[in-house]
């Protein structure tokens, strides 16, 4: 069992937790992920390692409540325990001094882009970061991102904070700007955002790395459920990735595969909300 040490509410649907998992913390690096299972009935869900503390043996995760498992996790509190916590999984990010880098984080993708931006900065790169979300209330870690970036651009879809635009707009401007000489782009966020970042950088031939969030089960290369089509054939995101060259990814197939269990996921949420309501009602009645 793995104890939750700390919880922070970053937005209505975005939460941060620090979890006691010394076996993961001793080796964790930027770009890697863990697989968590809440309880005996739980599914195995992948979450990026947003930060780690080797001395304290703790791992920070940040998640957005999009379905039953993440909603249930969001209701847990410090002191509660998680049934499984396996990792660190996947390849760490290749950190080098490339020159000028643009790091794009969309929505909950801000969390995993942060340690990457920090490491790139430490390695001597000039780091320009773009973070974006649908609206102001979904944004988090603006100051943390600013601290590890030479320049930070903040966007919201509705203009409630920062610039009113999608993250791809400022990205295109940076790529257009001949003086900037953007050497590489990192992008993490919803699959659809990563697809459009990929389309944006392609004409400029700027190498672009994305961290793919396919559906996973074991996370150790055993099931192939996480497979993604690259122009060289199928690869497993959990062991060959999670980072890939964005220009080689078959985005159509990736987006379609993410939808496969949508009806079941909806049913799980309905059932879960119903159960929460019932328990709420019982608690009310007991008062």
């Amino acid at each position: 069992m793995y104890r939750i040490l700390k919880k922070e509410v970053l937005s209505d649907v975005t939460k941060l937790m620090e979890v006691q998992a010394p076996h993961v913390a001793r080796k964790a690096r930027a770009g890697q992920f863990i697989i968590v299972r809440i309880d005996e009935q739980g599914e195995r869900i992948p979450l990026t390692i947003a930060d780690y503390n080797r001395e304290a043996g703790a791992i920070t995760i940040i998640f957005q409540e999009v379905g039953k498992s993440t909603m249930q996790l969001g209701k847990m509190e410090p002191g509660d325990e998680l049934s499984s916590f396996a990792g660190p999984l996947g390849h760490p990010t290749d950190i080098e001094n490339y020159g000028t880098i643009v790091c794009v984080g969309g929505g909950v993708g801000i969390a995993p882009i942060y340690p990457i931006a920090r490491s790139l900065k430490e390695a001597g790169n000039t780091v320009i970061s773009i973070i974006g979300a649908r609206n102001k209330s979904l944004l988090f870690w603006e100051e943390k991102m600013r601290a590890v970036s030479d320049e930070l651009i903040v966007c919201t879809d509705d203009g409630s904070h920062g610039r009113k635009s999608l993250v791809t707009e400022p990205l295109k401007e940076l790529l257009e700007d001949k003086d900037r000489k953007v050497a590489r782009v990192w992008a993490i966020g919803p699959a659809i955002m990563m697809k459009f970042v990929s389309l944006a950088t392609k004409p400029y031939d700027v190498p672009t790395t994305v961290s793919l969030n396919t559906i996973m089960i074991d996370g150790t290369g055993m099931c192939g459920g996480c497979r993604v089509l690259l122009d060289s054939g199928a690869q497993f995101v959990c062991v060959d990735g999670p980072e890939f060259d964005a220009h080689k990814v078959d985005w159509g197939s990736l987006l379609s595969r993410l939808q496969f269990y949508r009806d079941e996921e909806r049913k799980a949420v309905e059932q879960w909300e119903h159960k929460c309501k019932l328990e709420g009602a019982i608690a009310e009645g007991g008062k």
């Binding site: 993961v24 498992s69 099931c223 079941e264």
Partner: protein, 482 residues
């Protein structure tokens, strides 16, 4: 019972295994084969003519002392029967259920030529179940040696190796990447063929009696590397199996509705997807499922599909659908256990022999809508002696399906080889290890089971774990230096 003459023994007919009704069982995951009663077991045991040179034993990969345990059983001495069994086989309740007996012990039984072999597997299961229920055979432990061994992987190879080392007094830690121990016995083989309580019963017993520590959620190659383990432990045994699935190299494999048998079976068995939404992991099949392959893995996939369809139909009130098994060779070459084939047939699987998919076809949403296949014929036997399938030109046809499950064999998962310099591998990805001792090319590292042989059987993995444990113990005592 009075002593029977050989002739009388050979007149007794082989006893059928009582099974759950073939129509009822399609709608549940309960065990299909219900097991012999004590009376039936003893009567079946009477059939063995106690050969002086028992051929059956030669057919068993670990040489179970078959005539001895059968004799004790028919004399009603269950304690003795268990003792004889455990000389060679730590997991009889499991092997009795899943060994391909028809090609091993029973395939060699002298009575096979004259009719039907002694039902050795069913008797073995009976003895194993008796032991699970009564625990007549305490796991004795030698005094502590102060040596530490890491066993990686908790399938039959790893469990057997850990238990034998624990008995010798070594301190054993078992590392497992998944959230629970058992390997294929838990994530692959379904409940209706091997109840998980049997597997956990064996594992818990070993842990409690021998103090073996199990560390789940530890992925060796990531959480720790092999070299890091070697810094902490005196010896390391790798029993990491062959869990990497292969996909056919045909167009359409990334469509929605195409999955590996490993994914499908893991969702169903390990994650209990058939109990969704009480359990969180979804699993679904369509109305027309095609499983490619005909080994045990394919057989488990068709039978799980049938059950899922029946459960879905119970909820929706619609008809349940069809499950096809698509195999490029013919009935005679089916590699699965005979009993499973028979059960699948009873449960209503449709077999498409001599058929090979060329392409999986999708609709505009990226979901599977069909398969383009070609008919095959069998040519001359190849090097392995099997008749190789050859496509019949012009015989292409389309098959309407909405789910495709690939059960095409697996190879060793490469993660454990990460940062393990000197651990040699073959071009098939298997670890190079000595067949007798299990020693790899890397000092203080042993390996056995599917990681060495490629996908094989439970009993051969167990045997390899046992042989390696013997050698590891000798090494640790200084009797057999590296």
């Amino acid at each position: 019972m009075a002593e029977l003459s050989q002739k009388e023994r050979m007149k007794i007919k082989r006893h059928d295994m009582p099974n759950q009704d073939q129509f009822v069982r399609r709608g549940n995951y309960d065990e299909v084969a219900l097991g012999y009663s004590l009376e039936t077991a003893r009567e079946e045991a009477e059939r063995c003519i106690q050969c002086k040179e028992p051929k059956c034993v030669q057919g068993c990969p670990v040489g179970v002392l078959i005539p001895q345990f059968i004799k004790a059983l028919r004399e009603g001495d269950m304690i003795k029967a268990v003792e004889w069994m455990k000389v060679k086989n730590n997991l009889p309740a499991i092997c009795g259920r899943v060994c391909p007996q028809e090609t091993q012990c029973e395939g060699n039984c002298i009575l096979r030529k004259k009719g039907e072999p002694v039902a050795i597997g069913r008797l073995e299961r009976f003895v194993g179940d008796y032991e699970l229920a009564h625990r007549t055979c305490p796991l004795e432990k030698a005094p502590l040696t102060g040596k530490k061994v890491a066993v990686v992987g908790s399938g039959p190879a790893g469990i057997t190796c850990a238990v034998d080392l624990g008995r010798e007094g070594h301190k054993v830690t078992l590392f497992e990447s998944l959230h629970g121990p058992g390997g294929v016995l838990v994530y692959g083989i379904p409940e209706f063929r091997l109840p998980k309580s049997v597997v956990f019963g064996e594992i818990n017993y070993a842990v409690e009696c021998l103090g073996i520590e199990i560390k789940v959620d530890h992925v060796i190659g990531r959480t720790f590397t092999l070299d890091e383990l070697l810094n902490e432990y005196d010896a390391v045994f790798l029993g990491t199996g062959a869990g990497l699935p292969s996909f056919m190299r045909i167009p359409g494999i990334n469509l929605n509705g195409v999955m590996s048998a490993n994914e499908f079976l893991t969702r169903v068995n390990l994650m209990k997807g058939y109990l969704f939404p009480e359990y969180d992991t979804p699993v679904k099949v369509g109305k027309k499922v095609a499983v490619i392959g005909a080994g045990n893995v394919a057989m488990d996939s068709v039978r799980c599909s049938l059950r899922l369809q029946a459960l879905q139909a119970q909820k929706s009130g619609e008809n349940s659908g069809e499950v096809h098994m698509v195999y490029r060779r013919s009935r005679a070459e089916v590699p699965a256990r005979e009993e499973e084939f028979h059960h699948a047939e009873e449960e209503g699987v449709i077999f498409d022999f001599l058929t090979n998919p060329l392409e999986i076809l999708g609709d505009e949403k990226g979901n599977v809508r069909g398969m383009r296949c070609i008919r095959m014929q069998l040519g001359e036997p190849d090097k392995s002696g099997r008749r190789s399938p050859i496509p019949i030109e012009g015989s292409e046809f389309e098959m309407e399906v909405d789910t495709v499950i690939m059960a095409l064999g697996t190879s060793p998962n490469p993660l454990v080889f990460v940062d393990a310099e000197g651990l040699e591998r073959t071009k098939y990805g298997t670890a190079v290890a000595d067949n007798e001792t299990g020693r790899t090319k890397k000092p203080r590292v042993w390996a056995g089971g599917d990681v060495v042989t490629g996908a094989a059987t439970v009993i051969s993995a167990m045997g390899a774990g046992k042989r390696a444990a013997t050698d590891i113990s000798r090494f640790l005592k200084g009797e057999a230096p590296w």
